[in-house]
């Protein structure tokens, strides 16, 4: 199910200050509301219709989009709209201990939620009886790969010339060492108390993905959500720049 909250949340988030108390530095030296370094590039693959490469901290993610193209699986075909298929895959060398190649429980789940996070943004009804295929390859993982994957996929979709309502951006927030923080690193994700990845369409403020792992009080949840939304807005700006840089000089 896709959770869509109205822009009311955003308006609240812009009012007044965010988290003010307990601003101690994090293990990697960042402030509580500081993102990791961010790099987005569009149009990196020759043979795909659209592609992008995203680096968030030590995450390295490649996304490729093919389509809209003919759908051969007749039972999946929708007569009034296109379908969006998504595959999230981690390279065996992306993590410290070699990951057994192929889909597992986790990557099947992420494939599904990625497709659902992108679905409301794409004008699927413009291409009935066809499919749009998104492939996300994680080359190096360092916490928050599902957000990096969604961010990369939406840049690749735009690069493929697929009409969209907005470019989906994704960012996580959470709680680590008793502090609510933005854009969790791998250590904070594993050792921390909670992880809250979200994906949103920044123009309208619609949230297309919201997951939570761990425990947060409702106050902390509000704070974390505000931080994650702020992170999405930063990422969204970078996504736009990446697309414009591809065609600009």
């Amino acid at each position: 199910m896709i959770i869509i909250l109205t822009s009311k949340l955003i308006k609240n988030s812009n009012k007044g200050s965010l988290v003010t108390s307990g601003t101690k530095k994090r293990p990697d030296g960042r402030a509580f509301d500081e993102m990791r370094h961010l790099k987005i590039e569009a149009g990196v693959l020759e043979r795909a219709d659209g592609s992008s490469y995203v680096e968030i901290g030590d995450n390295k993610v490649l996304a490729a989009v093919y389509g809209p193209r003919e759908l051969y699986v007749r039972r999946l075909l929708k007569p009034n709209m296109a379908i969006l298929r998504c595959r999230y895959n981690m390279a065996p060398f992306s993590v410290e201990d070699r990951k057994r190649p192929g889909p597992d429980r986790r990557s099947i789940e992420i494939s599904k939620i990625t497709a659902e996070a992108l679905n409301p943004a794409v004008f699927l009804e413009k291409f009935p009886r066809s499919t749009i295929d998104v492939f996300i390859e994680v080359l190096q993982a360092e916490g928050g790969t599902r957000c990096a994957g969604i961010t990369a996929a939406s840049v690749a979709l735009a690069d493929a010339g697929i009409p969209m309502r907005d470019m989906v951006a994704a960012c996580a927030a959470g709680k680590s060492e008793g502090q609510v923080v933005m854009d969790l690193s791998e250590w904070e994700d594993k050792e921390g108390e909670a992880d809250l990845p979200i994906a949103m369409m920044p123009r309208t403020g619609d949230i297309t993905l919201l997951q939570m792992d761990g425990h947060l009080t409702s106050d902390e949840f509000e704070k974390a959500l505000d931080l994650a939304i702020k992170g999405c807005q930063i990422i969204s700006e970078e996504q736009k720049n990446a697309i414009k840089n591809r065609y600009g000089d």
Binding site: E70, A82, R129, A158, D159, G161, P163, M167
Partner: protein
């Protein structure tokens, strides 16, 4: 209130104008705002805003001329790949008339045809036809694929660009509206055309392109001529050596 300039590059979701504006191609309306749905260049005409995409897939339209490759032979029709989400069909009746003959005698899998889109129905079945001037099977040559939105740029104003390429390289060039280009000429000239077409595709959104392409063609062809002369000279010298 207009928020962007004409010919500016925009991204999906970008707000183009607020208030009294109409949404054209490549845009959509969200309450009173006109937003872009594509990556492309803005075109403002009076109160109508549209976005011309930089990248797209070919959506078949009745009356278009396209280049297709036969991918399958069925009982009474051919199936063609027309570089689109929807494959095209060429009914046997279009080729033979009423009488039935063996289909693979006429066209085989892999043949490249120049066709017209006769009809596209509600279930996106694309019916193709061969009736018309210049339509039919291509023999030899190479195929180049470009984004369909850049086809007008490749042709140029009244065919200025395409005619220039044809004249300079002495190749036959046929452009389908689905973004497939067929080229036939000397093999090295085919390669020149391929390079030029790819450059046009990459730089389609910039101005003064025809002049730059002309310079590029002259440069490549100039080099080519010199090279052949050098080769001849070397060959002559070699022959002289042999004689000695």
């Amino acid at each position: 209130m207009l928020l962007i300039e004409d010919k500016q590059i925009v991204v999906p979701g970008e707000i183009l104008a607020e208030g009294d504006y109409h949404s054209g191609r490549g845009t959509f309306k969200d309450v009173d705002k006109v937003c872009s749905s594509l990556v492309g260049l803005v075109a403002v005409r009076d109160k109508k805003i549209s976005v011309i995409p930089l990248q797209s897939k070919y959506i078949p339209k009745r009356g278009d001329v396209v280049i297709g490759k036969i991918s399958d032979i069925r009982f009474s029709m051919w199936e063609l790949d027309i570089n689109s989400p929807y494959s095209g069909i060429l009914p046997a009746a279009e080729v033979f008339g009423k009488e039935k003959r063996e289909l693979n005698r006429a066209f085989d899998v892999g043949d490249v045809l120049f066709l017209r889109v006769v009809d596209v129905d509600e279930v996106k079945k694309v019916k193709l036809g061969l009736k018309g001037r210049g339509l039919g099977k291509f023999r030899g040559g190479i195929l180049i694929h470009i984004t369909p939105t850049k086809v007008p740029r490749l042709i140029g104003k009244k065919g200025s660009m395409i005619n220039m390429i044809k004249d300079q390289t002495r190749c036959e060039v046929v452009v389908g509206q689905n973004g497939v280009v067929w080229v036939k000429g000397k093999p090295e000239m085919e390669r020149v055309v391929q390079k030029v077409v790819k450059t046009i595709e990459e730089e389609a959104h910039t101005s003064g392109l025809t002049d730059r392409i002309r310079d590029m063609l002259l440069e490549i062809l100039g080099e080519g001529k010199e090279k052949t002369e050098d080769v001849k000279k070397e060959e002559d010298e070699f022959k002289e050596e042999l004689i000695q």
